[in-house]
């Protein structure tokens, strides 16, 4: 019973991923079952509450301290004693020593010393002590979460989404909150009346939503008119292209694709950037493993990434690690840091000046040194862990989903994307959401490697996909910060010479266009490189800011429209989707991911403190996994102000809810929505808007 109440209180919280892979989520994820208007009303009195009763301050102060210590990954040298036993158990032994909590009171100290062993018992005990009625328990627990929403969001991630998720953490966290509450605010029951009072007085309407609705309408009409006009251009595309390039649906791909198409006879295709591979990649060199697929999926196999020049690479890493180990051992110890700073201050001082005054030179020399010494970029993948059958299934699934089954050019490149920034706590928020907040290059290369195998191609013929002998697949990296697209193949590959030249031209064009939108930056050809290599840069690129719509349809539908980098583009040919399965997948996976991203930007713009991480200027990274503001604060989940604002007061991102435009039969879209209650709920509650263009009736329908 209590367990159920606890779960229910947590249901309203959205998870928050660590800085290593920041996944976009709707911060009001837990309220999606409500109409957005109502959800916002609740959010205004909770997440956006400007002043909770001051008694909560002491409780928060202690919670922050203990969360910082327990959830630290790798910062402290002397870590929380007994953390191996879990959050509650370790604190159970330590809290009796915490003078700031028992404040020297014998009785309280005794009570802390005799806390029951299981967190459920203590939760029950505390709720009784606080005299919270049975019916109010869920709300009360929810209030304990939402008064410090960032840390709670992280606990939610750890207990439900982390690779080694532990359900117990949710209970442990509430146990801590309650123990602290009993000690520091015995009359915390008042929180309930405070909340109900605020809720009663809250306005139903949110002017911000009205403004958004107005912009949405304008945007929707413009795009619909353009798309309506372009519908006549849709044809069965069987022309022979010099090359086909597959990009992630990410909004940053759209202007890049336009720039490339201008350069010559190239076809570009939009598809989820993990290229349909639900895999994890294990780097055998640094011995790390991470899933590179959407967080909605669990990886089914693990691919090993190995260096080609094993000896050189291993030697390089060993040396680098030895130097780092030596540095850290001297830094985190008694007495030795005194010598360390005197011995290396000159080096740090020089490097600091070089990085500040000549950021490009500094980055380039570091890059060159590591490439030269370690040849670390030269790697290959060991696919032996994926059975041939599965490989064929992956390949067929991916090709069908991206609509690439009939005409193949000699060159087909899968362009996974990633960003290159320095000294950026939010770096991973610029990477590929479809790859779990990682770069998409690995997936691109693995799919290319799978498709280049004769055995796979042979098996694909049976699935009615015939790949010509002359076709070769490549993995490529689309750098969203510099617009550089690097095809992973030897420089000497003559077949690629033309394409490489076109890509270089496209890079120049797109980066100059893009830089016009970055404030106070001269849009020169090399400026993108400068931004990318600068350790002082807080706006190296705009990421997915200004995202506004998802267009599901053939490229010929959108090719002649300048969508200004505001559109997710997913390839879809309704005629090839015989059993509706492709559209179902698109609407339940990429569409949901796009919605999460859209909402993250939406809310970080709407209120950069409640839903965003605040300014980068005063950020302080805690536990190597999250950002606090200044000395200590709530864990600041969401995007930094600089990711969505041109300056402190002027938003760059326009807060619009996602508009989805689908090129497909009315009936099909309807039936999919009916069959997917989650999607129907999102549409009904106006979290997203779906519009279909019926190819036969040649008419728009909104759902």
């Amino acid at each position: 019973m209590l367990k159920k109440i606890i779960d229910a209180s947590w249901d309203k919280m959205a998870p928050f991923w660590p800085l290593q892979n920041l996944i976009a989520v709707n911060p009001l994820n837990g309220f999606e079952n409500l109409p957005i208007e109502e959800a916002l009303k609740k959010a205004r009195v909770t997440f956006e509450q400007e002043s909770w009763p001051t008694e909560i301050d002491k409780i928060n102060l202690a919670t922050i301290k203990w969360c910082q210590t327990y959830f630290d990954i790798d910062q402290a040298t002397l870590k929380l004693p007994g953390r191996q036993d879990g959050f509650y158990s370790s604190l159970r032994t330590l809290l009796p020593h915490d003078q700031l909590i028992h404040q020297g009171q014998k009785e309280r100290q005794e009570w802390l010393k005799n806390l029951p062993e299981t967190p459920l018992e203590i939760i029950d005990m505390c709720l009784q002590r606080l005299e919270v009625a049975e019916k109010d328990r869920e709300t009360f627990l929810f209030l304990l979460l939402v008064t410090l929403p960032g840390w709670a969001a992280h606990v939610k991630y750890l207990s439900e989404w982390a690779p080694t998720a532990e359900e117990d953490q949710k209970i442990d966290y509430l146990a801590l909150r309650l123990v602290l509450t009993v000690c520091l605010w015995p009359k915390a029951k008042n929180l309930l009346s405070f909340y109900h009072e605020k809720l009663k007085n809250a306005e139903d309407h949110d002017p911000r939503l009205e403004i958004a609705a107005k912009h949405e309408q304008e945007f929707q009409e413009t795009v619909q008119v353009q798309l309506g006009e372009q519908a006549k251009n849709i044809n069965d595309d069987h022309s022979k292209y010099d090359a086909q390039l597959v990009f992630c649906i990410d909004v940053r791909s759209e202007p890049m694709r336009r720039a490339i198409e201008k350069q010559g006879n190239y076809q570009t295709i939009g598809f989820a950037g993990f290229f349909g591979l639900p895999i994890a990649v294990r780097d055998t060199l640094i011995k790390s493993e991470h899933a590179t697929c959407p967080v909605l999926l669990k990886p089914v196999s693990t691919v090993e990434k190995k260096p080609v020049h094993v000896k050189a690479a291993r030697q390089f890493y060993r040396t680098i690690h030895a130097v780092k180990r030596l540095y850290q051992a001297l830094k985190y110890s008694f007495l030795t840091p005194l010598a360390l700073v005197e011995a290396t201050g000159s080096l740090f001082g020089t490097w600091g000046i070089v990085r500040s005054l000549f950021p490009r030179f500094a980055s380039a020399s570091k890059q060159n040194a590591s490439t030269e010494l370690g040849k670390i970029n030269v790697t290959h993948f060991d696919l032996s862990s994926i059975p041939l059958e599965t490989q064929v299934d992956f390949a067929a699934g991916a090709l069908k989903m991206m609509g690439l089954t009939k005409t193949f050019s000699k060159i087909v490149a899968f362009c996974g994307h990633g960003s290159t920034t320095r000294n950026n706590a939010f770096a991973s928020s610029l990477d590929c959401g479809a790859c779990g907040g990682n770069e998409g290059l690995d997936n691109a290369r693995v799919l290319a490697q799978i498709l280049n195998q004769q055995s796979v191609r042979k098996a694909l013929v049976e699935k009615r996909i015939t790949i010509p002998e002359s076709t070769r697949f490549y993995g490529a990296r689309h750098d969203t910060t510099t617009d550089d697209i690097a095809i992973i193949a030897p420089e000497s590959d003559e077949k690629l010479a033309g394409l490489r030249k076109s890509l270089a031209n496209a890079q120049k064009e797109n980066s100059v266009n893009r830089l016009h939108h970055i404030p106070l930056v001269k849009p020169t050809k090399s400026m993108a490189q400068v931004l990318s290599s600068d350790w002082a840069q807080v706006r190296p690129e705009w990421g997915l800011a200004r995202n506004a719509c998802l267009i599901v349809g053939p490229r010929t539908w959108t090719k002649n429209i300048n969508l200004e980098g505001r559109s997710f583009l997913h390839e879809y040919d309704w005629q090839a989707d015989e059993d509706d399965s492709i559209l179902t997948t698109i609407m339940t996976a990429p569409m949901v991911v796009a919605h999460w991203i859209n909402m993250q930007y939406f809310f970080s713009t709407l209120n950069p403190v409640a839903y965003g991480a605040g300014s980068k200027v005063t950020q302080n990274i805690t536990g190597k996994k999250g950002v606090m503001q200044g000395n200590a604060s709530d864990l600041m989940h969401g995007l930094a102000l600089q990711s969505v604002y041109k300056d402190d007061l002027t938003p760059y991102h326009q807060a619009l809810r996602l508009q989805v435009f689908i090129h497909g039969p009315k009936k099909r879209i309807e039936s999919i929505i009916t069959a997917q209650p989650k999607i129907a709920e999102l549409i009904k509650n106006q979290w997203i808007f779906v519009h279909g263009y019926d190819p036969e009736a040649k008419q728009w329908h909104s759902y």
Binding site: T69, Y332, V341, S356, D647
Partner: protein, 450 residues
């Protein structure tokens, strides 16, 4: 009154001016991009420029009135820079807390200067230096200077403002840790002539410095966020700088504050990137062979340091303390290197110890050699120094043992108590913590109009 009378462009001034210029150049150009889009961008740069101007006056001033004004002015603008946006209550409280300490320090410093003037009738620091300073009034004045120095360098028990100062914009922290906290050390060096024969004030300095360096290091090891870790580390480094002054090794203190300043400024500026940095320093595994090699490496490293910095290793005096610290660094270095699975690792570690020791010594010498001889007043060894070293070696050993215990998850209750005590003692002042998320302010229209 001519310019010559007001200022003193001696070697110390020159070294400090160069340091300040380097920090100003690095932090200034960094902030030019980092602060972009901030509502108070212009105000920030104005304050920064004024503060640097005050600092330049401070390090070159010879007239005590000028010195005191520059001291006060620099601290005032530091406080303004720290607060940055006053709509954020926690930041405002941080600034006010710092100002309470630093302002008091400044006033006490001014009063001490007044006493010196009253006693000597002179305002020029240069002119006061050669006089006899053994009257009671001098004693009191020196006490005031010691107080101002301890407050400025955030020494225990005046450290709270530093640990609560991280609501500042990152570049401000960089400037503060590379610049203004060094003020204490600079002050002591500037007035070194008044201190050389004053055993008890020097001993007092030693004790405060020793406690600060010990506590700072311990707290640093406990911290979970990067900026507070750096602040605790500064506390211990400043402790060492004060110790160096108390040992009569003023030139060494200047070397320390220069190199530490550049080091720490860099770490603050690059603190946004720590999420991608892994820790490699696993707990050490020791055996007899490794201990023996490490002791050898430590000795070689210490010899290298002594050679590089021009110190004599055989006589026991205050220099021996620096040499001992070099020895410990060499030992730790060798222990770490010996964990590597490499062939001839012991030989390589010994060779590296020699090389790095000389490099280290040379860096210290590089600054010291630019300073005049009277700033190197080697003093006799005192048993209190020995006690400090013994304490710190004990702490070092305990840390190694605790980290090994921690691996197994079994830590004794006494350690748990110390852990919680240390954690609590190193927390920022509660009013400087943003206890509710929305208390943090970034884009208030109000701030814009200000």
């Amino acid at each position: 009154m001519t310019l010559e009378n007001l200022f003193n462009f001696d070697a110390l001034s020159q070294v400090m001016v160069i340091l300040i210029s380097i920090v100003a150049l690095t932090v200034g150009s960094f902030s030019w991009r980092y602060m972009r889009g901030d509502q108070l961008f212009t105000t920030f740069f104005k304050r920064l420029a004024i503060m640097f101007a005050y600092l330049l006056v401070l390090v070159t001033a010879d007239n005590m009135i000028l010195f005191a004004c520059a001291w006060l002015g620099a601290n005032y603008f530091l406080k303004q820079l720290m607060i940055h946006k006053s709509s954020w209550t926690a930041a405002r409280n941080s600034g006010q807390l710092a100002w309470k300490y630093l302002g008091t320090g400044s006033v006490i410093l001014g009063l001490s200067f007044g006493l010196i003037y009253y006693e000597s009738g002179l305002l020029s620091i240069r002119a006061i230096a050669p006089l006899a300073h053994d009257t009671l009034l001098y004693e009191i004045a020196l006490g005031g200077i010691v107080f101002a120095a301890l407050v400025q360098s955030a020494q225990w028990p005046f450290h709270k403002w530093l640990l609560s100062s991280l609501n500042s914009p990152t570049p401000v922290s960089a400037v503060m840790h590379a610049g203004l906290v060094n003020g204490g050390g600079f002050l002591l060096v500037r007035f070194s002539d008044l201190f050389v024969n004053n055993d008890h004030w020097l001993m007092a300095l030693f004790i405060f410095g020793a406690i600060s360096s010990l506590l700072g290091t311990f707290w640093k090891l406990l911290q979970n966020d990067v900026k507070r870790m750096l602040a605790c580390s500064t506390l211990s480094q400043m402790g060492f700088m004060v110790i160096q002054c108390s040992l009569g090794l003023f030139a060494a203190a200047v070397a320390h504050l220069c190199w530490h300043g550049l080091f720490k400024a860099y770490l603050f500026l690059s603190s946004s990137g720590v999420a991608s940095e892994k820790r490699f320093d696993k707990p050490l595994k020791l055996n007899t062979f490794r201990v023996l090699v490490a002791l050898c490496a430590g000795s070689i490293f210490a010899c290298g340091f002594a050679y590089g910095s021009g110190r004599i290793i055989t006589t026991l005096n205050t220099n021996s303390i620096l040499i001992f610290i070099a020895f410990m660094a060499g030992v730790q270095m060798a222990f770490t290197l010996l964990q590597e699975p490499v062939r001839y690792v012991a030989a390589k570690a010994l060779a590296l110890a020699g090389l790095l020791g000389v490099f280290y010594g040379y860096n210290v010498w590089f600054i010291e050699s630019n300073l005049p001889e009277p700033l190197m007043l080697v003093r006799p060894f005192h048993w209190v120094f020995g006690v400090y070293l013994a304490f710190i070696v004990l702490a070092w050993g305990l840390m190694i043992i605790v980290r090994q215990w921690d691996e197994t998850g079994k830590l004794p209750t006494w350690y748990q108590k110390i852990y919680v005590k240390g954690l609590n003692a190193s927390q920022p002042a509660p009013q400087t913590v943003t206890t509710q998320r929305l208390f943090y302010r970034v884009n208030d229209e109000k701030t814009a109009k200000k």
